[in-house]
């Protein structure tokens, strides 16, 4: 009697959905409720690896966001410097506007990291290109820092794109991390 009722309904130990007697897999999250231990372990491994990828991606997004904030700070400092020591007010206005744009992008980065980081990346490359056209020598000023900044932004953009995929996959498996909106 006891064995029959257990066969009739199975509560999924992964997502707590109630499954019919014939289900080998949970109909809500695809956990192999009546699968072998190895199959169940492989399901758990998939979930935990996706979680780790998602955490990694989010870490890289965070670093790229910090790069945006640092750039905002640098533009602000540069603007004040050229404005007050060289009386170059047009450059000061441009730098302060850029600082403001980067602060906006850092704020947008919390809602949509992909859009914000891509825009920040395009603006940054645009500035390098413009400065190089005006004075080719500037291309080599702080070239290592420029490469590092570009590298960080590229990593952030890639990660922001990948993070969406991992999150979707985890949602499908009913294994959304607690901190995800």
């Amino acid at each position: 009697m006891d064995a029959v009722s257990q066969d009739a309904f199975a509560v999924c130990e992964h997502c707590n959905a109630i499954n019919g007697p014939l289900n080998r897999y949970c109909s809500q999250c695809s956990f192999p409720i009546r699968g072998s231990e190895a199959e169940q372990a492989s399901f758990r491994l998939t979930v935990s690896s996706r979680r780790r990828f998602l955490d990694d991606a989010r870490q890289k997004i965070k670093s790229a966001r910090i790069v945006i904030l640092v750039l905002a700070g640098l533009f602000f400092a540069f603007g004040l410097f050229v404005g007050f020591t060289m009386d170059d007010f047009p450059s000061m206005v441009v730098s302060v506007v850029l600082c403001f744009i980067y602060l906006l992008l850092a704020a947008w980065c919390n809602q949509n990291p992909f859009g914000a980081l891509l825009t920040a990346f395009i603006i940054y490359l645009t500035l390098i290109l413009i400065n190089t056209l005006v004075d080719p020598a500037t291309l080599f000023h702080g070239i290592i820092i420029k490469i590092v900044i570009i590298g960080w932004l590229i990593k952030g953009i890639r990660s922001a794109h990948e993070a969406k995929g991992y999150l979707k996959e985890l949602q499908n498996l009913k294994a959304v991390p607690v901190d995800a909106e």
């Binding site: 109909s27 506007v97 859009g115 645009t126």
Partner: protein, 255 residues
């Protein structure tokens, strides 16, 4: 997608087993029945390559024109740059091929939206002309042209309308609300696509103060494109706005 849910009973496409409505996975074989399965995502940069190439090639040409001494301030130089950037748009337009055809469909165009677009474009260009006057910026910066550029041509007004109204209305819209929009939309939401395309539309004009009105303008055309899936409203709005700019500048120079 993967199971037919129109009838009461549906079957898994993986194993043919019966699935109940509301099931997200097949209970017999574990195949996903979800409409949106998580696909292995393509690398963001390989998707965006065409957009980045278009943007930086065009930016380089405009940058050389505006920031270096390679081109002088003559009408001929301007025409060469204008034709070069137009040809780049045409090349990407051809490469996009069928993807852009539906955006030119005249079916479903609503006269009320057309009229509203025209009215808003005219009001915006009046407002911008007052603001630009106040902060002492040439309104022509909006359309990337110096004042008096067309003065020496045989028919200044005609050339001004051709190069600063017709050309941008068609080719900037096909680029920013056409293939760039489609390309970026492949990997992000329509709303952020509107923001990103409006922003790059603003910076590519290389006039930092004009971004005050270029970005909102790009946002307006972008939202029209996203909402109605047509380029016509953007083209009409862009043409009207630029025509307003040209006529105001023309009246001011003449007067």
């Amino acid at each position: 997608m993967q199971s037919s849910t129109t009838t009461g009973i549906s079957y898994c496409i993986g194993c043919g087993g019966e699935v109940r409505p509301g099931d997200r996975f097949c209970g017999s074989c574990g195949t996903s029945l979800l409409r949106e399965t998580a696909r292995a995502s393509r690398d963001a940069f390989s998707v965006l390559t065409p957009s980045l190439i278009f943007y930086f090639v065009t930016l380089s040409i405009l940058g050389v024109y505006k920031l270096t001494d390679v081109f002088d301030a003559s009408f001929e130089s301007f025409a060469i740059v204008s034709i070069a950037t137009t040809l780049i748009v045409v090349a990407f337009w051809i490469m996009a091929g069928k993807d852009l055809v539906s955006l030119f469909d005249l079916k479903g165009i609503r006269i009320s939206v057309v009229l509203l677009t025209i009215v808003i474009a005219l009001v915006s260009c009046l407002v911008v002309s007052v603001v630009a006057d106040f902060i002492n910026v040439s309104l022509y910066e909006t359309t990337f042209v110096e004042t008096l550029l067309f003065e020496d041509t045989s028919s200044p007004l005609l050339y001004a309308i051709l190069f600063t109204c017709v050309q941008p209305a068609i080719f900037e819209e096909v680029a920013f609300r056409g293939f760039l929009f489609n390309n970026i939309q492949q990997i992000t939401t329509p709303t952020s696509t509107v923001y990103i395309t409006a922003f790059i539309f603003g910076i590519i004009h290389l006039a930092i103060i004009s971004m005050l009105w270029l970005v909102p303008l790009g946002l307006a055309f972008g939202f029209l494109r996203a909402k109605y899936n047509t380029l016509w409203y953007g083209i009409i709005g862009h043409f009207t706005y630029n025509l307003g700019v040209v006529l105001i500048e023309y009246a001011q120079t003449a007067g």
